[in-house]
């Protein structure tokens, strides 16, 4: 049986305990582990064997639950998907996700994101509901592909930690939540775009985005929120023109959704 190469890992972890601290400070941990480990494994080893008071969230260890987002050397990352071999020979600096309040150590408060997610109405809105007994709404593979990428968001909030506009203007609805609005807008089963525009087309909505693109660069699920936001800027602009410049013009939201409401047969 071949043995795995062991490497030395030096972690510098931001610590903060609201019960005792007024400021955060870095703590150093030194350990040896197999080179195939991820940063999360190293943190777990610290917690089990060195310092049980270190706190962080995790669950799936397969980059799908979105719990374990952290700043690793200044980059928003899933710690279960950051390999220690990529940092060999350097100190790995681990901090809680930027732009969110630190509850304790690496644990942040995601309340703001959760509230914003809810505001964009991320669910199917229909004018007419057909009963289950009539079967599925038909949707072709092409129609599915139109939004599938945007449905892959694991709500890890790395994009919020990366987006400077969110950092500077915390009212910004932000990449993932807006992308979720887009995901439903693009779904052939949905008729709710006009409703979502009430949030999407506001100052705090897409218009706060200056297309930095950092969101898409850090997204571990390849959702590409930047693209969703740009597309929504275009549709929102067209809406505006129709509403304001075309006499008797209805917002595009209405027209589009009415078209979409027709089930393809």
């Amino acid at each position: 049986m071949t043995q795995l190469k062991q490497i030395r890992v030096q972690l510098e972890v931001l610590r903060y305990n609201p019960d005792t601290d007024t400021e955060a400070h870095f703590q150093h941990y030194d350990l040896t582990c197999p080179e195939e480990w991820v940063v999360l494994d190293a943190l777990n080893k610290v917690k089990a064997d060195i310092d049980p008071t270190l706190n962080f969230r995790w669950s799936c260890h397969m980059a799908v639950c979105g719990s374990c987002g952290m700043m690793i050397n200044g980059e928003p990352k899933l710690s279960c998907h950051s390999f220690v071999r990529d940092y060999e020979g350097t100190v790995i600096r681990v901090e809680p996700l930027a732009h969110f309040p630190i509850e304790r150590d690496l644990v942040t408060a995601p309340d703001d994101f959760m509230e914003k997610l809810k505001r964009v109405k991320p669910y199917i809105i229909r004018k007419d509901k057909k009963p289950i007994s009539e079967g599925e709404y038909k949707q072709t593979p092409a129609q599915l592909m139109k939004f599938r990428q945007y449905s892959m968001c694991i709500n890890c909030m790395l994009c919020y930690a990366a987006c400077p506009e969110y950092g500077l203007t915390p009212d910004f609805i932000g990449p993932a939540a807006l992308t979720m609005a887009h995901r439903y807008n693009q779904d052939s089963r949905d008729c709710g775009r006009a409703e979502r525009q009430e949030v999407v087309a506001t100052h705090e909505g897409v218009w706060e985005c200056t297309f930095v693109g950092a969101c898409s660069e850090v997204c571990p699920a390849h959702v590409d929120p930047a693209s969703a936001l740009q597309q929504m800027k275009i549709t929102s602009s067209i809406d505006w023109i129709v509403e304001h410049l075309i006499p008797g013009g209805k917002s595009a939201g209405d027209t589009v959704s009415r078209e979409k409401a027709g089930d393809i047969k």
Binding site: N55, W58, H61, C65, I124, T140, L144, I154
Partner: protein, 585 residues
């Protein structure tokens, strides 16, 4: 201690908990619903499910076939009235999810697509690429956001059920952020706390699957049923234990030993089928228990491949081609590439069986009711006796939906005409939890380390309650787990602060796991036969005379639990032979 008065409390916001919450909110918008979860709903482990969810939808399929597959797959330990209810509800629930926006894969004509799955006679597994559970969970979570009556208590750690007057009337829970204890008073309580695979060292389960829900009900007096049936999934990544979905084989992947032989044909699942043309219910599409057991035998025979993580066999998907793999199994490709640095398009992946799913759980009936009035359970934490001795892949995700909803309806039925709660009595019970927590904080002088104890538990479970079991090993395991439960009382908390104290939660989780582990191992010792996932080297045959019954394990405090049995409900399918020879025998 703050009290939150509500109508229904749901513990757990995974697939089962969310489905129950939505059913409650839809059925009666005036109900106040408290949804408690120790993680944000979308972090629940349902998100990790890859393969898909089974429901009869295509014209070549029938309810009878789904029934037969489930009952046979479960080695006749399923309650057949339950299976009957389940198979009929399954397509409705899956369609409901479709109406809520779940991005199921589609056929060219726009209807939902289905894929083959292990132990199923027909293609009936609905899927959303290889992220089915993820999409189900997020669809449910997002849909739940439109109901104002669902009040979420995210990151609340539920501790003890409040039982008074013989009825379950609430639960205590710690707000993890503040460390403050709250009590929830309710007319009905639904537990949807998920599985307990974390009591094993090598598992596909996320860190949160520590059996809290099971242990909570168990301590409150509800028996745990059929706990000895622990499913090993045949194809886990050998290092992290991450799951490579059964869809790998459903889509045509093959299992070979170090000599390149498709060894499943040597274990009653042959004859060999052509590569890349999987046939339902045979070879690679045999049931999980059989496939995992065959791998175990191959390893014993010395036909395995040595890897740094132990003996493995190979899963070969190269013949599927890059395009097909990217379309149907993108996550699998990604997982193998990043965690094992193997590209499945170019190389076979080493895999080994990994603990995956608990067939057992809180004993419930077809109405999702436990023996304690007012207490309902659904999802992996419950044992409604759908899965019997071995769950078929893709039945579980549907079970969450079907019985999550059922639990909600039963909870509403239960609420009618209830006498008023005795608040003082409930407060007194809640106070006991407070005392228990205070004691944990004030303990001194202990010498036990929590991570040490946890490791001993995991090693014991692997060594003595793994794929194959013996009297001797189980005896040893029973005494070891019993000893660990005593020692658990001496573990001291290192971290004494209030805010998000994960040291505390891990300690509580360890307590839950030890309780569940004892139920598993005691049940396994008592069941002197081999059936489904419970295989004994000293009792190799199924024994329908003595053991066509459910194991019921009852909590006895720090003593070894009491075991008794409950008959299996057989309506139309008497125990028969499990045939996975592809109709060749």
């Amino acid at each position: 201690m703050d009290t939150i008065s509500t109508d229904v409390v749901i513990i757990g916001a995974g697939g089962a908990g969310l489905r129950a919450a939505i059913a409650l909110a839809e059925t009666d918008p005036t109900l106040r619903i408290a949804l408690i979860s120790k993680v944000y709903p979308m972090r629940s482990h349902t998100c990790a499910a890859e393969g898909g969810a089974a429901g009869v939808i295509k014209s070549d399929d029938s309810f009878d076939l789904h029934f037969d597959d489930t009952v046979g797959g479960g080695d006749w330990l399923s309650d057949q009235d339950c299976v009957e209810y389940f198979i009929h509800e399954a397509p409705k629930e899956l369609l409901q999810l479709e109406h809520w926006g779940c991005p199921w894969n589609r056929e060219a004509d726009g209807s939902v697509a289905v894929r083959p799955f292990g132990g199923m006679k027909k293609k009936r597994t609905w899927f959303a690429a290889d992220k089915s559970g993820f999409h189900i969970l997020h669809t449910l979570f997002q849909t739940s956001l439109q109901f104002p009556s669902i009040i979420r208590y995210d990151e609340y750690y539920a501790l003890d059920l409040l039982v008074d007057d013989g009825r379950c009337q609430g639960v205590t829970a710690l707000e993890m952020r503040s460390g403050e204890l709250r009590q929830f008073h309710a007319k009905s309580v639904i537990i949807a706390g998920g599985g307990a695979g974390r009591m094993f060292p090598f598992s596909t389960n996320g860190a949160i699957k520590t059996g809290d829900g099971m242990a909570m009900a168990y301590r409150a007096g509800a028996p745990l049923k059929d706990m000895e049936f622990v499913q090993y999934h045949p194809t886990g990544l050998p290092n992290t234990g991450s799951l490579l979905t059964e869809a790998c084989r459903g889509e045509g992947g093959i299992l070979v030993n170090k000599n390149g032989r498709r060894f499943l044909q040597d274990y009653g699942m042959g004859p060999e089928t052509p590569v890349g043309k999987p046939q339902l219910k045979t070879m690679e599409l045999g049931p999980r228990d059989r496939v995992s057991q065959s791998i175990w035998h191959e390893i014993q025979k010395g036909n395995a491949v040595s890897t740094p993580w132990g003996e493995c066999v190979l899963l070969d998907m190269r013949h599927l081609g890059e395009k097909y793999i990217d379309e149907r199994l993108p996550l699998v490709r990604e997982l193998c590439a990043s965690y094992l640095q193997v590209d499945i398009v170019k190389d076979p992946v080493p895999i080994r069986p990994v603990v995956h799913y608990m067939m057992g759980g809180i004993s419930t009936n077809t109405k999702a009711a436990t023996p304690i009035p007012g207490l309902f359970a659904a999802g992996e934490c419950a044992c409604v006796s759908l899965n019997g001795a071995n769950r078929l892949g893709s039945n579980s995700l549907v079970e969450l939906l079907v019985f999550g909803r059922r639990a909600a309806l039963s909870a509403i039925e239960h609420m009618q005409g209830l006498p008023a709660a005795n608040t003082a009595a409930l407060n007194a019970r809640a106070e006991q939890t407070q005392v228990r927590i205070r004691e944990l904080f004030s303990r001194t002088g202990g010498t036990e380390s929590m991570s040490g104890l946890r490791k001993e538990m995991m090693d014991t479970m692997e060594k003595n309650a793994g794929i194959y079991r013996t009297e001797e090993g189980l005896q040893e395991g029973v005494s070891k787990i019993h000893e660990l439960r005593q020692r658990y009382g001496k573990v001291i908390l290192t971290d004494k602060s209030n805010v998000f104290n994960t040291d505390l939660f891990q300690m509580l989780e360890l307590g839950s796991m030890l309780d569940c582990a004892e139920a598993v191992i005691v049940g396994a010792l008592a069941r002197k036969e081999s059936r489904g996932a419970h295989q004994r080297l000293d009792y190799v045959d199924r024994d329908d005379k003595k053991f066509l019954c459910h194991t019921m394990v009852h909590y006895q405090g720090l003593d070894v639990p009491r075991v008794d049995y409950l008959d299996v409900v057989i309506t139309k399918s008497p125990p028969g032979v499990r045939d996975y020879s592809g109709d060749h025998k």
